[in-house]
Symmetry: D2
Subunit: 396 residues, 4 copies
């Protein structure tokens, strides 16, 4: 983590406000849940809400309070084992697929743990004299928790959306139709400047402003809609191997996948599970919950392609984005000069730089102030449960 | 189900008492749980407590109230799908390994469902005129729920015993040492009478008093103890293939099994997770949580054998039993003349009569009035999470 | 192995004849094969023909020549590792599912190995002074190789029958119609004598003549035919869970099994792969290649049952048997007083006495002189590739 | 396939020579094999040699003779099913993991098939009037067969190297030490020209000369050696998760991988299986049979990195390459303007452009005239059985 944090360093009060808001918002996302909803882990990628609540708390305890606050007393020494995610440097941890078996500690105790750690960090920011390294870690911890807020929304939707009874969560995190006509933004060839530099927070994976040569291209001003995706389905695309990657073809066949996640064909009509319950499909909304394989196949079918992440970033000021993360054709690889930070913090990004695809933009579930055009999100190609969509590009 | 139910038929009041007690006891077993503990299904065999509570209720609704009480209004039509276990005749059902993903309905609603059905059956018994067939089904439903009470205890123990924090449940369902010296009961050869006949309830699998010829044998008056089992382990038995079935050898090697379930070697000392928490081993207690493979291997190591279920039943009046279900060397097969009842009730026992081993006796978790010497319990040979133990026999 | 071998002991010349014939016959079974056919192992249960040829040779080397003939020089020390099957006492061995990866040694060398060991045993029987223990092992080795002759036929059929081109092997090991009308043989209740005693060879698992009480029953004089089995299929039996064991229902559904092995529905007509190639079904032939689950379900459908192995043995003199092994309703369990021999020979039978079902009789692929009415064959319930059939029984 | 083939078009005689040589060489590679070695498929990625021989033949039949030579008579209509690899457009095919079960057709018939097709193509080139499209397909067929020649060597090595007896193949395809001191080639930043253009054959994936901006870097003049890799191992690198991708850490732990493929520690000394048999390790040879994960981890351990494929191509004229394919840090993605050809030929490359890593260079098993600096080879990150090595780079 190498974000430059000048403002924060100058002003712990601002950071405290953001910290408090962030902690509150995480809990607020969970309010519509029953206690039982906090427990299951239906697939390895989907973690129990209880786990997100505790893990984002453990991050502050493990990386801030324990190393920097000598008087801090660990809430429960077992929690490091229970709520570490993948930080091998931070000691043993429970295997990821077993998170859903941990009924203990109960939600009430996780909430007490949250309050305890929130209080300790608050006190530190109010009354302590946090040095620059500590402020940097708090900033990272807030951004880390914001990422988990978004994952919380994904995972809650998955847990509820796989109940046979399709329970409602509420009318939040819902897309809107882009009411404008399709247009193509043309970009000239040239050496472009890519990556983050300057004030404010960024992740290490987007750092290092550097040059990339781009051939001329055009990129759509709109996301692909449900209506267009229905055409794709009805053209027989899920049965036409010519449109698919070899791995994608295996993915849809092994999983018997015939549509995006949460689509249900009920009596010849498409319905979609949303956080507001099962609804008739709206053809004007952007298509959501597609894997990279489906995004790629859709572009093939259109005779177009997905943009690279560099093309996306170069054109991003010329279209609106933020309803859905947009699959790019770029594999997730390090920028020139990328170096992992030493220790556990260094495990944050670098070790995932293989077998993942970059998504750019943000979604309706992304925390405020957590998006920027240089942000590099990444997921494995089969991921459907994320808030993903499709924007097309063409070479000129 | 062909149990003769003469007393019950004569006296609905007695049956009502037993019904109310049974319903109460199921809920009472769950009182030490946190809401979160009702949800997980750590392995396919272990069902969520929530599921047991609802399934044993659904049984009365499905097989008694719906077919026999025209005015009865189903509590929630989705529940038939959610809480059917394996009754294919009773319609679609959720796949067994997915029970742990169902956070809905919440525990509170399951409890409301229980109350609703308990009330309906109570009214039927109090004010209705239940015919003999209905009384038979209530009797079966009570026995069915008693079986689930015992499974509830097994499953609660498994869920809590696999938390890294080993939480306590309470001091119930605990074994006691058999304070008597080892003795061998000798039985003479001859044609013996086996199986249930007479008044009172029995399952269909134990019906049909019939003759079995037995060669002379002797059988132990005591269960094998933890102390004896430690000797077995320390002799290197888990590394000596000569003692094991071929499938048993695969079982312990594939699962890296080195001891009964819930045994933990901490700093060279054996500890056992009990419902009262993690405890030092007591060598005088009967050994518990052994698979059939381990029971067999132990007998091999002793130069003895397990009794057949017929030997066990023939000698059962001459020793005390009831702390642990006792593995027999008998595969679970139909008695002469066994016939499945038509429809879903007929799925109760017969369809499991392959690849299962008979256990006889009862355990500290068995409901009162739910044991008799003709009772045939059965589980797959690898089952360790049940309350199982070992009694030895020898041919004469 | 506790067979009494009086005649053999008296007459090594007779044993030599049988040994030579047996060795010759194994090789003769393979003559229609291409070299390539000796190599694959399509499923773990089906071993490469090359492996059978070598393993049955290794048995004589390992258990006779090495321990008893000091001047014998092992053909190749690696072969003990390559061609041990499951005798843990005889040292390390290659894992069973990997047999099909061993292209070396080539078939020609396996044949040279066979000749070398055949020669050494021949010499021992001709010129040596084999003691009683050695003759016993030769007798066992012959019987062991005869078992592998039958498995060779099964495995060759499986390898060829799973080629997309359905190659022919030749017109051997083919069933014939039982041209007689269906009749039921009635047996009175009583204590019957079961098991082998007397002169000649037997396996340890059939030893110990002992008493079994049987209730009265009747048993069919004929095997179930293809024609009857087609009726069963056409009644919808493979879709009717009421007919199946719970495990059987999983077996046919997980494997998408809709008919016995080698049945192919081609343009609405049943064809069967036989060793003579793909043929139109003959409804008068006995049905072959059914699993235990299918045999059981067929009997359920008929409102009858399979005989126990004791019922079968008691009635066996009153019907003709030997085209197909007949599934019984008996699990494979030890007879009273059964004891494993010490060491590797003791691994022959006892360790399989769980999760297996007994078959009685013999098949067209069984070696001459290798059948008797007390013989206990056994296979796991899903086994379809064996030469199995169905005989029905009914209680009286 | 869009290679420009001007010389070939002008001169069918030259193409005939290359065709004949290519066909001969494929068979020549197999001469040291026993017939049995042609059959097994030990892991899904490793195809039976018999399959390579037939598949490379089928390619000419399917894409040249059948569509363009009306008088051509297909050798055997079943072969299209048996020997199609992954061309979904060319009809049904046998599932890849089942290739090792196909003992038929025997090797002798596959050889007859080869001769038949070789003859037909020869005649076409000698006496026919092949048009430009046909010549293009022959050119592609030769290149395709050359790729399979290399895979043949990999797969033969895998099949023989996994025999417990480590049989020898012969002294071919063996690496040599690079007898020069380590030096670093520096490349200045700038927009570089990447990709193939001009005369001669190329694959579609390398076509389209295009610009790429590169920051300054240096690249090693030598491959990493066995000696250096032993240091890496002995430093504990296989136990240090900081060096590995998250997927790489899972890969080495799930597979219990502690060294490159074919390395065996025998009595504390490293030995390596080579095509000449098991040998003591030579520390001066380039390290071979490393996965991408291991190549990456080695670079991390050195504090360096792997080159991108663009860095590699830009510097390739300044170092010698060709003993081993060199892992790059580039994911396998389409070049700007890449378009799949229509139909089955279009399946050649494009559909693999996800989850694969690019290798550059060539190996001792690469066919003559089959290498060029723009050639883009690709394999999944875990692949160890390929002839892969490591060249390091550093940013300046």
């Amino acid at each position: 983590m190498k974000g430059k944090l000048k403002e924060a360093v100058r002003n712990p009060t601002v950071l405290l406000d953001r910290f408090i808001n962030c902690r509150f918002l995480t809990e607020e996302i969970c309010t519509p849940l029953e206690v039982e909803d906090y427990v299951p882990q239906p697939i390895p990628e989907v973690s129990p809400p209880k786990w997100h609540l505790a893990h984002s708390t453990w991050f502050f305890e493990q990386f801030l309070l324990v190393p920097f606050c000598p008087s801090y007393k660990v809430y429960d020494k077992d929690f490091a084992y229970l709520f570490n995610s993948y930080y091998n440097n931070a000691g043993d941890r429970i295997l990821r697929p077993n998170r859903g078996l941990m009924s203990r500690p109960p939600v009430s105790e996780v909430m007490a743990y949250r309050a305890y750690v929130t209080e300790a960090v608050t006190e530190l920011l109010k009354e302590g004299t946090p040095n620059s390294q500590m402020l940097t870690i708090i900033e990272l911890g807030i951004n880390h928790e914001q990422q988990h807020q978004e994952l919380l929304v994904y995972d809650i939707k998955y847990i509820l959306g796989n109940q046979p009874t399709f329970p409602e969560y509420g009318n939040r995190f819902i897309n809107e139709a882009e009411n404008k006509s399709l247009d193509w933004i043309e970009i000239e060839e040239g050496v472009k400047s890519i990556g983050f530099s300057g004030e404010g927070f960024s992740y290490d994976n987007e750092l290092g402003k550097h040059k990339v040569y781009l051939a001329p291209y055009k990129i759509s001003n709109k996301l692909v809609t449900n209506g267009e995706f229905i055409e794709f389905i009805e053209s027989g695309a899920y049965e036409n191997f010519n449109l698919w990657h070899s791995d994608g073809w295996d993915f849809i066949n092994n999983g018997a996948i015939k549509a995006p996640l949460y689509w249900h064909k009920v009596k010849d009509r498409w319905q979609i599970y949303t956080l507001g319950g099962l609804k008739d499909i709206n053809p004007h909304l952007p298509v959501q919950h597609v894997s990279y394989y489906e995004a790629f196949a859709f572009a093939e079918w259109k005779g177009m392609r997905l943009p690279t992440e560099f093309e996306w970033e170069t054109a991003a000021d010329q279209f609106s984005w933020g309803q859905l993360w947009e699959w790019t054709s770029s594999a997730y690889l390090p920028y020139p000069g990328f170096q992992k930070a030493p220790g556990a913090i260094g495990e944050y990004n670098g070790k995932f730089m293989v077998n993942q695809q970059v998504l750019r933009g943000a979604s309706v579930a992304t925390a405020e102030n957590h998006s920027r055009k240089t942000y590099r999100n990444f997921f494995a190609p089969p991921s459907q449960w994320i808030f993903s969509g499709i924007r097309l590009a063409q070479s000129l």
